[in-house]
Symmetry: C2
Subunit: 173 residues, 2 copies
């Protein structure tokens, strides 16, 4: 049987649109979550993501991810992954956009549940624990991201495959 | 009484030199803490800092700090501060060096206890809980850093003043 083809175009990431899946980590001057510190030298944008990594004795890890090679577009979503024991944040360190596809934190998902977003280059994202998401697909060679996720015992990785559909994900023209 | 003058020049930051005070957060290809993920697309530099924020019910915060104005050099160290309830990490998001002055996590410190470091622009740092450090002093206007520190109840801020000495901190020529 031939696979059903689905075309998906990433939409611009906003905090509101991403709220069901996690946090957008950005310095939004229109938000109310910032204030001056160090005698006015520095503006602090405060508490931008919920780190949720303690089930089964986990602890937060700070990591750096360096992308060896850009992904080809359109990206074929063969499966989504999730981390049942921890949130996972990616923050760009060189102003490069990221493409993310997500689906709700439920045991069974359909291709129609998938939402896709493209960041503006300055935005980071934090996936809530158990939210399905595509593997990180770098849009340029050599880009660097800070990752904050979970360390500890237990199985923190699951995959959900879509054997009958071919989901092509692209960025807006 | 005239204050005693002390000149301090920051030394290049290394993981070894900073070890008594905290972690250097960097993607060091000579380290053994990295491995490939996502089918070889990404190199993960793993677990680069110890987040220590749980005393008295604390939790980790992800924040962005944007520097309004660069500090004049030499920097006059009037006091050091510390956070007795949490570690504090700063990671540059635009490849800008940071200057940091630190002293050991003990109740009384002397000016001779102060060590100063300059980062290479790509390095972040994580101050261990209760390590004395100067307030973040941005070396350029507009630079952006990711901060990971503690949220929660309790007094997480102390200062140690040096009333009798004038410590001038500068970067290497």
């Amino acid at each position: 049987m031939e696979k059903k083809k689905i075309q998906l175009v990433a939409e611009p990431l906003t905090a509101e649109g991403f709220a069901p899946f996690g946090d957008v980590i950005e310095a939004d001057p229109n938000s109310e979550n910032h204030f001056s510190i160090n005698g006015g030298l520095i503006e602090r944008f405060n508490d931008l993501a919920t780190i949720d990594v303690t089930p089964e004795g986990g602890r937060p890890l700070i990591n750096i991810a360096i992308c060896n090679k850009a992904t080809a577009l359109p990206y074929h979503i063969v499966f989504l992954e999730r981390h049942p024991l921890g949130s996972q944040a990616f923050i760009p360190m060189d102003d490069t956009p990221m493409i993310v596809a997500v689906a709700p934190a439920q045991d069974h998902i359909e291709p129609s549940d998938i939402r896709a977003f493209i960041t503006n280059g300055k935005q980071g994202i934090n996936y809530n624990r158990s939210v399905w998401h595509m593997p990180m697909a770098p849009l340029a060679d050599g880009i660097k991201m800070l990752m904050i996720d979970r360390g500890g015992e237990g199985n923190n990785y699951e995959e959900f495959h879509f054997p009958d559909v071919d989901v092509h994900l692209d960025i807006p023209k």
